[in-house]
């Protein structure tokens, strides 16, 4: 079922005006702080009533000119930034809370999630005794046990430190990557986006600037102002091939990237973020380089970006970005349609299984 959002809302000097379609899968709502991400989620959940528009899930109308389905009738799984576990209930009671109000997931399913999320050992603890990471895992288990039709996650990892964030992110991906329901995931962290997003909605000052498949949005020039520095890059979906002498073949639509130290199962899928800074261009085919990954490509777009120039290139059907200096761009006499060689400096740290 597809979640169709078309709403306006005004609060003080801030105006939200959003039109967004979320098919099953993860839609990452990405944007700076104060851009209206949380407000959007609260409108979807019914915690805030928008001024006008509609919110529909399939043929059900949650909000419209004459409808405002109450929060508890919407079947939303909501994970808050701060967890919001009930302090007077045990972890088990928290996770099973939704079962009080109607048939939820069968116990085996809840048990399975508890195992996947690593909270099985915490069931008899009180929330006050949990760490931040444990709390968010429990909050996620609780939201899933609701058997939601739509899952909303509002910066679920933002309260955690970096190592903890990576841990929870692994589990999170395991649980929601194959979601058969629309998942709205709010964040301003590029790592979380890369790992989780099927689609991205770029939001700024209450408006959706750009939305679409993650790979398209990330390479779209419109998105550049929101992706400073190393955040700018392409998203390449690869199939994990064989590993020989510690180097793994990653096949993508346009060739094979070889990377060392990739922890991934052969035959699996892997998302590789190739930062624009890590792609070097050359007019001649380079020889005698240590880099394994050199591809022939066609220039599709050239655009100045602050002091540098961002060049879009097509390797097969895959678009990559390269950030080069203006001087280099002039010296190389780059123009659209030109053939270049792209050298990728990608390392395993950018590969995320």
């Amino acid at each position: 079922m597809t979640l169709d959002i078309h709403i306006t809302h005004r609060r003080g000097g801030f105006a939200l005006d959003v039109a967004l379609t979320c098919p099953p899968g993860v839609t990452v709502v990405f944007g700076p702080s104060g851009s209206g991400k949380t407000t959007l989620l609260q409108c979807v959940a019914g915690i805030i009533r928008p001024a006008s528009g509609h919110i529909r899930l399939g043929d059900r109308e949650w909000f419209g000119a004459k409808t405002q389905a109450p929060v508890h009738k919407r079947k939303i799984g909501y994970v808050f930034q701060d967890g919001r576990l009930f302090p007077h209930l045990t972890v088990r009671q928290n996770i099973h809370y939704a079962q009080r109000f109607g048939p939820g997931q069968p116990p085996e399913t809840i048990e399975h999630w508890c195992t996947v999320l690593g909270v099985s050992a915490l069931l008899d603890r009180m929330p006050a005794t949990l760490s931040g990471g444990e709390r968010q895992r429990v909050a996620l288990a609780r939201a899933l046990a609701r058997t939601p039709d739509v899952l909303c996650l509002d910066e679920p990892l933002s309260a955690l430190d970096a190592p903890r964030r990576r841990d929870v992110l692994d589990d999170l991906e395991r649980v929601i990557a194959d979601a058969k329901i629309p998942v709205l995931y709010v964040t301003h962290d590029i790592q979380e986006l890369t790992r989780l997003a099927h689609r991205v909605a770029l939001i700024d000052d209450g408006n959706i600037v750009l939305s679409g498949p993650a790979a398209d949005v990330l390479t779209d020039p419109v998105a550049r102002p929101y992706l400073p520095g190393r955040n700018l890059g392409a998203l390449v979906t690869c199939k994990v091939g064989p590993t020989a002498q510690g180097v793994t073949d990653l096949q993508f639509n346009g060739g094979t990237i070889r990377l060392a130290n990739v922890a991934a199962q052969e035959g699996g899928e892997l998302r590789l973020r190739v930062a624009a800074q890590d792609v070097i261009l050359s007019r001649e085919k380079p020889a005698g380089l240590s880099a394994l990954n050199v591809f022939q490509a066609t220039v599709t777009d050239i655009r100045p970006d602050q002091a540098s120039v961002v060049v879009s290139i097509a390797v097969g059907d895959t678009t990559l970005l390269s950030r080069i200096t203006r001087v280099s761009a002039q010296t190389m006499e780059l123009q659209i349609g030109a053939t270049v060689h792209a050298i990728i400096k990608a390392t395993a740290t950018d590969a995320m299984a």
Binding site: I47, V71, H72, F80, R84, Y97, R100, F101, A143
Partner: protein, 226 residues
């Protein structure tokens, strides 16, 4: 036994005080929860006025509160006469004593509940709603358990206040042994006669023991819930 010295009137006063304070507290509690919720959670025109009315007995001299009760709920008062049609009377009886005690204790109970409500994160109630809880279920499963300490504290405070209430009670329902003569009224009556110091001391001790006992019980209950 030192209790041998208690007269029938004193025993009556003790029994009546406990009954009056218990009823006043129990009847006030649900109403106080409702008022506290309205004052703490709703923003509406006239909220300040409601707050002022609820807290008025706290600042008014008790005698004035008693007088206001007398001219409204008394036999000649508008409310008193309307209720008389249904056979309900607060005139010079234990129900009137409970009403006076309840009105005086009410602001303290509301205050205590309101305070604990202000510490309940409304976000938790939102979370409960996303998990399928309707408004009543949210209150029952989240709000109420979280304000339980305030509820308990309010009940104890209200009970102690009701036990000690004097000014409003004696003004509204006078001082009838067995019907409206509570411990404070009995103490006051004994004070009027020379040579009753021993009886006064007995009643003061009993009164203190009862109120401190209520506090001890509530602490025990609170500890068990933790």
């Amino acid at each position: 036994m030192w209790t041998d010295g208690l007269t029938v009137a004193e025993w009556q006063a003790i029994g009546l005080s406990i009954r009056v304070a218990t009823i006043a507290t129990l009847v006030s509690l649900p109403l106080a929860v409702a008022v506290a919720l309205v004052l703490e959670r709703l923003r509406f025109w006239g909220r300040g006025l409601l707050s002022a009315v609820v807290y008025l007995p706290l600042v008014l001299p008790p005698v004035v509160t008693g007088y206001l009760l007398l001219i409204s709920f008394g036999p000649a008062g508008a409310v008193g006469q309307s209720l008389a049609v249904f056979g309900i009377s607060f005139a010079f009886n234990a129900a009137g004593a409970a009403l006076a005690a309840g009105v005086m204790a009410f602001p303290l109970i509301v205050r205590s509940i309101q305070l604990s409500l202000s510490y309940v994160d409304p976000g938790l109630e939102d979370a409960a709603r996303t998990l399928g809880a309707g408004p009543i279920a949210v209150f029952r499963t989240v709000t109420l358990p979280l304000i339980r300490p305030g509820l308990l504290a309010g009940a104890v405070l209200g009970f102690a206040k009701a036990m000690g209430e004097f000014g409003a009670t004696i003004t509204f329902v006078s001082n009838i042994p067995g019907q409206t003569q509570t411990i404070p009224s009995a103490i006051y009556a004994l004070f009027q006669v020379p040579g009753q110091d021993a009886a006064v001391a007995r009643l003061i001790i009993i009164s203190a023991v009862l109120s401190l006992g209520a506090i001890a019980v509530s602490e025990a209950v609170a500890r068990r819930q933790r």
